[in-house]
């Protein structure tokens, strides 16, 4: 009789723990959905800014390349401000690359968030079907373990698969000739 009561309490506690886990996973998933939205919005803004910058850059770059071709044909034809403009464009090249690399970084972060959301969704769906025997704590514990396994697999997956595209500052621009 005592053992039966103890198992019933154990089952209630285990069911409560499983339910808490679902709440935590669902809350985390909602927060990640907001993060995904903000990342997407940031990327749109960055893309628009990059596109405008690239248009401005192209206008000047095309002229410089044309001037270079003219100079190759007639060496004395170089405009006096050619080198100054080229220097400015070279500086722009470095910063425009950063725009592109930040875009890739946002892509990688979006992928991490999406993968984690997918796994959290899977974990939550495990809590959907009713347990066969709600009075047995083992069933609730098994369910919680399966959900945790799913979440841990999500964390592992984002660590293994998501790439970090932007090189560390100390390596950026480095050259190795073999």
């Amino acid at each position: 009789m005592e053992e039966k009561a103890s198992r019933a309490t154990g089952a209630t506690d285990a069911a409560h723990a499983a339910s808490l886990l679902v709440t935590v996973a669902a809350t985390l998933n909602e927060r990640l959905a907001l993060t995904a939205e903000e990342l997407a919005r940031s990327q749109v803004l960055l893309r628009e800014a990059s596109a405008e910058l690239m248009t401005a850059f192209r206008g000047a770059a095309d002229r410089i390349v044309e001037a270079q071709k003219d100079e190759a044909a007639q060496p004395a034809s170089r405009a006096p401000d050619y080198d100054v403009v080229l220097d400015h464009l070279y500086r722009a090249v470095q910063h425009l690359q950063s725009h592109d690399l930040v875009n890739q970084l946002i892509d990688a972060q979006k992928m991490r968030v999406d993968k984690m959301r997918e796994k959290l969704g899977e974990a939550i769906s495990l809590a959907g079907p009713p347990v066969a025997d709600p009075g047995r704590p083992e069933q609730w514990i098994e369910r919680s373990r399966a959900m945790l396994d799913c979440i841990v697999a999500g964390i592992k997956q984002i660590d293994e698969e998501a790439r970090q595209p932007v090189a560390g500052k100390k390596h950026a621009g480095s050259v190795d000739l073999f």
Binding site: S50, M54, R58, A61, I64, V65, Q68, A72, L86, L89, Y90, V93, Q94, L96, Q97, S98, H99, D100, L101, Q104, R163, P165, V166, A167, G168, H171, A172, G173, S174, V175, D176, L177, F178
Partner: protein, 120 residues
């Protein structure tokens, strides 16, 4: 005029590389992944190949290995221009037959120096 093949899946990056090289008098042809790069390299004779590493269809290291199998590209310099900066990746690049490894974002003046050096 020397011809350089620039391979990168980022259109912005290809444009940056092409501008810097063209402004220095090189002719540049572009490809958006390793597979297209290999195709371009076999239809056009290139004096230098500059390739990214992480690309769809065929990555940079596979492109280097594939090019080194071609008779015309046994001794053509091939540079990796990538965000990858680990020693392990560089070692793989060297083993694949790459001539050098540059980490993005690149400095235009440095890129031109390296290009002049490997084309000498």
């Amino acid at each position: 005029m020397k011809t350089i093949l620039a391979v990168d899946d980022s259109a912005t990056m290809r444009e940056m590389v092409a501008f810097v090289l063209e402004s220095a008098g090189y002719r540049v042809i572009e490809a958006e992944d390793g597979a297209q790069g290999l195709d371009r390299a076999t239809t056009t004779s290139c004096d230098l190949v500059i390739t990214d590493q992480n690309m769809p269809n065929m990555d940079g290291l596979t492109l280097v290995r594939s090019l080194r199998e071609l008779r015309d590209y046994k001794s053509v310099p091939i540079l990796l221009l990538t965000t990858e900066s680990s020693d392990a990746m560089k070692a793989q690049g060297r083993a694949a037959g790459a001539t050098g490894w540059l980490v993005k974002p690149f400095d235009p003046a440095t890129l031109l120096e390296v290009v002049q050096k490997v084309l000498r």
